[in-house]
Amino acid sequence: MLKNYLKIAWRNLKKRKIFASINILGLSLGFSCVILIFLFVNYHLQFDNFHKNSDRIYRIVTEEHRDDVDYESSVPPGFAKGFKADYDYADKVANIYTREDWQINGTANKKSLRFRENVVFAEPDFFEILNFPLLEKLGDQTLNQPNTAYITESFSKKMFGDENALGKTLVVKNKETIQVIGILKNLPKNTVIQGEIFLSYKTLKHYDNFIYSESWGGISGSLMCFALLHPNQNIAQIEKSLIQLVTKHRPTSKNVHRYKLQSLDNIHFDNRYGGVNVSLLWTFALIGFFIITIACINFINISAAQAFTRSKEIGIRKVLGSFKQHLFWQFISETFIISLFALIVSLAIAIAVLPSFNELFMLNLSITSLLDIKVIGFVLVLLIFVSLFAGSYPGILLARILPTLALKGKLTQKDTGGKLTRKVLVTMQFSISIVLIVSTIIIGKQISYAINADLGFDKDAIVMVDIPEKIETIKLEGLMERIGKISGVKGSTACLTSPGGTDSNWTTGIRYNNRAEYEEFYISAKLADENYINTFGLKLVRGRNFYVHDSITEVVVNEMVAQKLGLASSEELIGKQVELNGGNIKATIVGVLANFHDQNFHKDISPVFIAPQSNAFNEIAIKIDSQNTDVLLAEIEQRWKEIFPKYIYEFSFLDEHVARQYENEQRFLLMSKLFSGLAIFISCLGLYGLISFFVAQRRKEIGIRKVLGGKVGDILLLFTQDFLKLIFIAGIVASPLAWYVMNNWLENYKYRITIDWWVFALAIGAIATITMVTISYQAIKAATVNPIKSLRIE
């Protein structure tokens, strides 16, 4: 029986090549989308799932309760020691401290090489908690001595080529010489730990005394603390008991810490602590479902419309003894075959686009990912689901055909039914497309707004150049002087960070006007020289810029400080004393700046102070004449290298930094564009199939209408008016839905666009136009045929 079904299915495919191609193409595109989305979701779901005892591994994080609650994926540097000393919850506890883009020098084959890499300072127990296996090591050494390191095999290859890296030395930041004592297997991409060089934690004393000192005075976002708990621990109870550490170590702080244990599987997905927004994954999964639904709807519509043409076969089968269920399963088998074809094509598409997909979404998937048991299982389930979903309705329609009418050829389209269902399904397709178009427009508008809006500071034609940490003042001054002399440089400043477009944010407590206590809120520090305000075009609304003295005696703040302090006017700030950074800075406010977006549009503008603390400067910002960028960049590089010949020169543009803050959104936008385009394309394929069928069905009617004086326009209207009505209904259904979804999405932004009515009109108009173009080709072709021909066919 099955063989017979398959035979018929195959021959039907060959006979109805156009419809088969439309179905296979639509389903293939749908399948490839869904498979790629599954790989994407599965990749994220597998983050850090490869560690032994993963159910007992936790990262300890901090809730900072001030006037607001902030979430830090870190703990004070002294936490790990306190946790180990005062409690017995864990087998192992270890800190790691990660820094990005540090310069590493080495020598291989008598050749000096230098790179910028992420380095991780790790306590030895870190490798007992998480599974990052060592391939080789020097004797039985572990990372318990200063100036030792493990490096990954890929970094070993990069730095030392084929030479054995064990025992070799590296120089970190042109400062300390480090011996390589172990080679780590390359870290997988799906882990939150990202680094190539793991330095012993004891080495940190040469680089960051605040972290190494195990202080409780503040938090650095670069530090992470992991614990392997004893089995069967009560997490809530542990968190509650950790309050004692706060009482012990931070008794008077206005910044009240609450330490929380974050399970390993939750780290990647907790967006409060910098994880991926899990709703984004489910949104993609939903979009995948939409796309495959659209492809199935095409299949259902075309097959249901064609049920009429297959009525004779069905009639015969019924007469010869076929039960309804035989016919139903016959059609499901046919759908299965088409789906199987589509699946094979889709796998080829998925393999072909995998490299671009990886690049676009920063994944590390290979063809072998498709052989993963979960992926195979998913693909099989998908195949069965689509066969049943797409095949059931046409199967039911076919099975209920009356043989007596079918065999006499008296069956009409009406007898096969399904007209209403078809309309509902087409409306559904239009609705999905409208929702996707509206979403794409709104996401695009919001990102464009965030990137192009007036941020309150200049971001265009500003080059940011890294400088070595804590360089001598004389060298910095020399560099600034040389750069200032370059013709085409409009201004330059040395600073800790730019006013915005950066994730790095140094915040500190503030005591205002000798008040008894520190304020509830934290203030963001923009440490910079006196040229900062001019170079970035910040607007001074009160007072003046600070003067630089040997010590910091003057600061400038933004208007938000007045607002946070509850002052009636920012005027009141001028001349007031402030104590900042735990009393390290005591200065007078001499100027007030207009507020500027120091954070991305997801967050409120912070209170900010600017002070000339030169030992904290990390980079210089250079405003250049954008007409002459290449020449200027080369000159800046040359000047820089004259001063810092031993360092790697790195530069970037500030506007790119600002845009990069919305990288995830831009990726989301790109995905929305891709999927909307695909959804529309697949819908159009279906419409094309449907309209070809209707035109063939109504050829006689077209002939008669033309003989009676009907014009091409009338006949075009005959085919288009029904679809236009459906688009109108889809618009009514989809618009509130799209508004709801996008309004929710925009709620994530403190600064957002408003949703204009024209976005919906544009989406509906676009769908109507695309539909008309799709339909017109077939309809005009039919309408321009000589009516004698059409009538003769009948």
Partner: protein, 231 residues
């Protein structure tokens, strides 16, 4: 074999109700060859569909081999039809996507017969219908006469006790028409009961008995040749 009592069948469209059969009574003995004649729209095909259990009457009784089948549901009717009844149509009604062999094999598949047995039976019947050399051809590649022979082969391959033929020569030239009628007669002589709807006087002469329908009622009935009830 067939006993029909006072059956009525009407069709309803949106506005009109048409009475296709009105108090029809008919008895067909096993082994008999009956021709049903009458003008277009008189209810011949409706009667044949009811006899073939493709449709149910609105009123009256239909006993097939002593069993009341007039009120059965579609699946129950299919069960009785399978293997017992064979159909031959004016427009042949072969499945275009199946070869001659596969078309003839189809009713045996629905009877869940084993493949080897099916092959043997199909080959046998194709030989008999003198169409075996065309077994791998598709219906479109055959002449009308050949297609009708395939249809007859398909009707008899299950050893059906009753063959219902709806204008079996309507689409054939006279030579092929005669050939088909001879085949049906041969089957009848071997014991198969045949009920045939026809417009053709010539074809009706092959039957033992001719029934004339008009406006849904049997108006005349004539005996062409004697029929002896077996047993």
């Amino acid at each position: 074999m067939i006993q029909i009592e006072n059956i009525k069948k009407s069709f309803r469209t949106e506005e009109v109700e048409t009475l296709a059969l009105n108090n029809v009574n008919l008895k067909v003995e096993a082994g008999e060859f009956v021709a049903i004649m009458g003008p277009s729209g008189c209810g011949k095909s409706t009667l044949l569909n009811i006899i073939g259990m493709l449709d149910n009457p609105n009123e009256g009784y239909y006993h097939f081999n002593g069993e009341e089948v007039g009120g059965l549901k579609e699946n129950q009717r299919t069960k009785i039809r399978k293997g017992n009844l064979g159909f031959v149509f004016q427009s042949f009604n072969l499945i275009d996507e199946l070869t001659v062999f596969e078309n003839v094999e189809l009713p045996l598949i629905y009877l869940n017969m084993k493949k080897s047995e099916r092959e043997q039976k199909v080959k046998q019947v194709l030989e008999r219908m003198k169409i075996a050399h065309r077994e791998k051809h598709f219906p479109q590649q055959l002449s009308g006469g050949q297609q009708q022979r395939v249809a007859i082969a398909r009707a008899v391959v299950t050893n059906a006790k009753l063959i219902l033929a709806d204008e079996p020569t309507g689409n054939l030239d006279s030579k092929n028409g005669i050939e088909v009628m001879n085949l049906l007669t041969e089957l009848n002589q071997e014991g198969t009961t045949i009920v045939m709807v026809t417009h053709s006087d010539r074809d009706s002469h092959y039957a033992h008995r001719v029934i004339n329908l008009f406006d849904g009622q049997i108006v005349t009935e004539s005996q062409n040749k004697p029929f002896k009830v077996n047993g």
